[in-house]
Symmetry: C4
Subunit: 339 residues, 4 copies
């Protein structure tokens, strides 16, 4: 089709296709937003290449498929109790943005978490207790979260949905980074706070997951001239900071510290709406809470989230489906993968 | 049947029919409430008139059909993100009328909008955050909206559901009209405010959509002796003020500044209930937010709203169907039009 | 079977049957709770009695059947708007009993009402706006309703669910009785207030509907030695006060001022739960709001309410079905009667 | 398989099986968590033992099956009213833990209870009235329940979900134990309070039901070296305190004062999540309110709760199913048992 496989074709001539055929494996180029007008829908043809070749390819870039995900999912032991599925914490919300906490909390619980405590400002108290009766709430601050104190004892902690950018958010993050808890998922305004405080950015605890969309990524790490360069930058940053980066987009990429990139291919344009990212933050936090290791927790979270979105699209349409609708389809997504 | 085609038959003798047959195209008279007892159900017979004749007819009055609507609908690009679907604003609500904001906000989001911020009085804060977690809220005023300040940055803005008629509403509208935002949908009490302040009425920004029912229309522009005269008056006012008028009724009419009239034929008498208009305001605002041009955004909004109402009627009955039920059918309506 | 047809068999010997057969029409005795152990399930055999005989019987006691109800239901004109379906008022609620207003309001709206305004104490404001976005609220009093002022302008008004028995309730009722509004439905604590203030009881406006269960009836009008005597007392009271009495029970009886008694046979023991009566109050109010005359509004309300309960029983079981579930089945009940 | 039938195999050699066959009846060992890795799924083979032998076995340990449960369930009389199904009380909730009351209240009502009053701190008032409109609320205390006064008049009372461990909880329990009410279900923090105040523990009214999970049980009565010893300790404590113990786990055991043990086999690992126990407390309280005797109320409650969980698992998946989802399946569970 005239596309370069692994670098930008920007400025070069390429065919605008509605369907693109490829041999054996999807080329990296197909997964890049900038090539959408060239690629259209792509289809993989099996031409009998050796498994070894594929495995080497897969060593760097891999598309997450159902088989990979099914192998990740753990069975729930019939004698287990809620303690076996961990205790998650969410630190989220501010005045006017409490919906983000509702969505993240439901995402977290529906990932299978045993217990969840939400740290919220008091302006979100009634809202959360009505909307998510399964979650406990601890209040810190009035319109914004502040002074949460020592929050030791959680198996994983999601931070950021709806916290806002007010004075004090950086101090909050710093406080959390220094706490005993060590399994973090950072999203939304937590990332914007880090973008504005590069020293704090350097202090993200190792093994943390961050879930930026492209704009948030650019605020944190600078702009790139094209999708390929941005991916390369993400690989470098994941290694330097020893973090997992979930770079959100149509083919969300999960980048590990040693430089492996997993592309997700569930999800659809109906998910380009407010609140969808909050759910993902909750789901990945919830899976980490259940002792799913990384990058598996990230892969499973991203895949389930997109699959639930695909089911919601079928039920409610791309246009009308809301973040709340996606949540209602998480159960169906689990069932598709476990039955 | 003895009806005049394009003027009132009031005072003249005509047959009371339960079924009316017509050649080739629906006559304007069939769409007028005052002729309901004469027309009953009408049916169109194709008698092979030239397409040219029809096209000329259509130049003035046109019934919106599924084909027209399907041609309007835009596909959501698979690499799109929420920024591609715009940021809407709703300015709505007052003490005791916050339900109007819930309904408008859900209508707006289910039109496919990327993000939504609701400007509400503080008495509606908990209500909105619990009911529409996908929407952000900004609070201005206590029991009524006041002092929203500069609200620049929104792709379209819906104003009016539940704002009330208290002192200050006119100032609020004036403030909004002078802001940088330029795509407005005005409804409900916003129209009643304009009706009471004819100077302000003259300052509606060009390209604004207003959505009066007949009483609101008459308050704004004066009474008419019959449906035909009112339609004519609406055509004149749309031209003079350079606005789009959605004149709500069983065959809701969309009147454009150059005088074209589109009649909608979705919807049913189950929609003659509180809150239905609030949803429409939200939907049209949401479509404009996604860069649907006018009058297409108005046509699609009105058609979808009525279609969702028809589906709700089938599911919940004409009598019992509520505005909330219609919202739950917007997804089904989109699916009928896109699958 | 040994039962007397139209008086109590208490103290007499009768067969305990699981099935009872009867000729041509159900005997009054079958509908009385006290005879349940004798009658079991009853079955009507057609033995060819003249229609005239039946009609005379029906002149006093009649079982409401589907045909009667279908004849009562009015079609919604396709050019109608919400104004055509009236504006209802509910005066209900107190601290800790706001659920009663939610249920009554939903019942009222799902009866097909155009608009609804709820008069509530301020402690119910958020609760109502979140739960019933279609209804407007006006606040009068803090923990109890007081000082609602002149509420003229409503087509019908339901009073009583959850208002409590505090000091001031009698004054409230007195105030309402003297207002311009003249179509009232009185229920629950409104009846208990009347029971405690016999002078006020004498001032119920003519044409009012009251909806007591047996205990409330006895508080108002005194105890009866058996079901037959109580029915006779109700007939006398309906005549003396010129009111319609909906005497709630398994075979709810509607008693008119001239002494006609209609027995309802929809409904089931799953409805013997909190909140069911509140819904009925709302439904009857809503039907009167739409200009259904009496006793038709009462008959249709009671029948629909029981039918929705029967559908809810099938969907949710007798044990688990809640008042909220019944509300969700009102649409199905309307559909059974109109399609 | 090498397991001891009625004592711990800990430290001994046994086969690790995925399927275990047994003759005639399930051995006690199969129901113990510690043997899960040995037993896997077990299957009962009928080898024609005399009924007498089985009955003797059953005299001590019995697995609750559908036939037992169907025999327990009472029919709702068609002339019954809500008074016939009793008035329950729940004393539950504190700041940040109000979800527990929502879940317990819904569980209580869906057990078929006639009326329910919830005693809650004022911080839960809006939350409860929005979430459970069928329940009435009485407020005692601000962030924690205190000073509920005399609560005589309830048919059964559930105490504990979400009450917290603050200063005053012991006094609250003491106050309740001394009240006129005599049918109690104690759960969650009520048990933790008793665990910390052994004198109060000795004053539990006879006939009370307690519903500890294993950790709560150990806090109350001390640790056991294995599952068999713990069961033996529970039998001793039930006898000494004259209480019914619902010892929660995969095979929840109901232990009666005379030492009979009923094992439940409905339920699944999807129920190992926050809020599930709160529902059970509500359900058992609701059944006792309807005059189900003990241990039948406990057996039916536990069985229904697990069955609803099994249905929820099928609908929503083990991972995603929430306590709220289980509640939505209680109706289906009742239908399976009564139709």
């Amino acid at each position: 089709s005239g596309l370069f496989c692994d670098k930008s074709t920007s400025g070069h001539v390429a065919v605008h296709a509605t369907h693109t055929l490829s041999f054996q494996a999807a080329k990296l180029a197909f997964l890049m937003p900038e090539n959408n007008i060239f690629v259209g829908e792509f289809h993989i043809l099996d031409i009998g290449l050796s498994r070894q070749y594929e495995d080497e390819e897969a060593a760097v870039h891999e598309i997450i498929d159902t088989a990979i995900i099914k192998a990740i999912i753990k069975t729930r032991n019939k004698f287990s109790h809620k303690g076996n599925f961990g205790h998650a914490a969410l630190i989220a919300g501010s005045y006017g943005m409490m919906g983000a906490v509702i969505l993240a909390a439901k995402g977290c619980m529906q990932a299978g978490t045993g217990k969840l405590t939400c740290y919220i400002p008091s302006c979100g108290y009634d809202i959360m207790q009505v909307s998510v009766p399964e979650a406990m709430c601890k209040v810190a601050g009035d319109k914004f979260i502040e002074g949460i104190g020592n929050i030791a004892g959680y198996d994983a902690t999601g931070i950021g949905p709806g916290i806002g950018l007010q004075y004090g958010s950086a101090a909050l993050l710093n406080e959390i980074f220094l706490s005993e808890n060590k399994h973090f998922v950072l999203d939304a305004d937590a990332l914007n706070v880090l973008a504005a405080d590069k020293k704090l950015l350097g202090e993200i605890p190792g093994g943390t997951v961050i879930t930026p969309h492209i704009k948030e990524f650019e605020r944190m790490f600078g702009a790139s001239s094209n999708d390929f360069d941005r991916l390369q930058l993400a690989i470098e940053m994941a290694a330097r900071l020893n973090i997992y980066i979930i770079l959100k987009g149509h083919y969300t990429a999960i980048i590990t510290p040693p430089g492996k990139v997993y592309f997700n291919n569930t999800g659809n344009a109906g998910m380009a709406k407010a609140g969808m990212g909050d759910i993902l933050t909750g789901m990945v936090t919830g899976l980490m809470t259940q002792q799913y290791p990384l990058p598996e927790a990230a892969m499973l979270g991203v895949y389930l989230h997109g699959l639930a979105g695909d089911i919601a699209c079928t039920k409610y349409s791309q246009q009308a489906m809301q973040a709340s609708d996606l949540i209602n389809c998480i159960g169906d997504a689990w069932k598709l993968l476990t039955q």
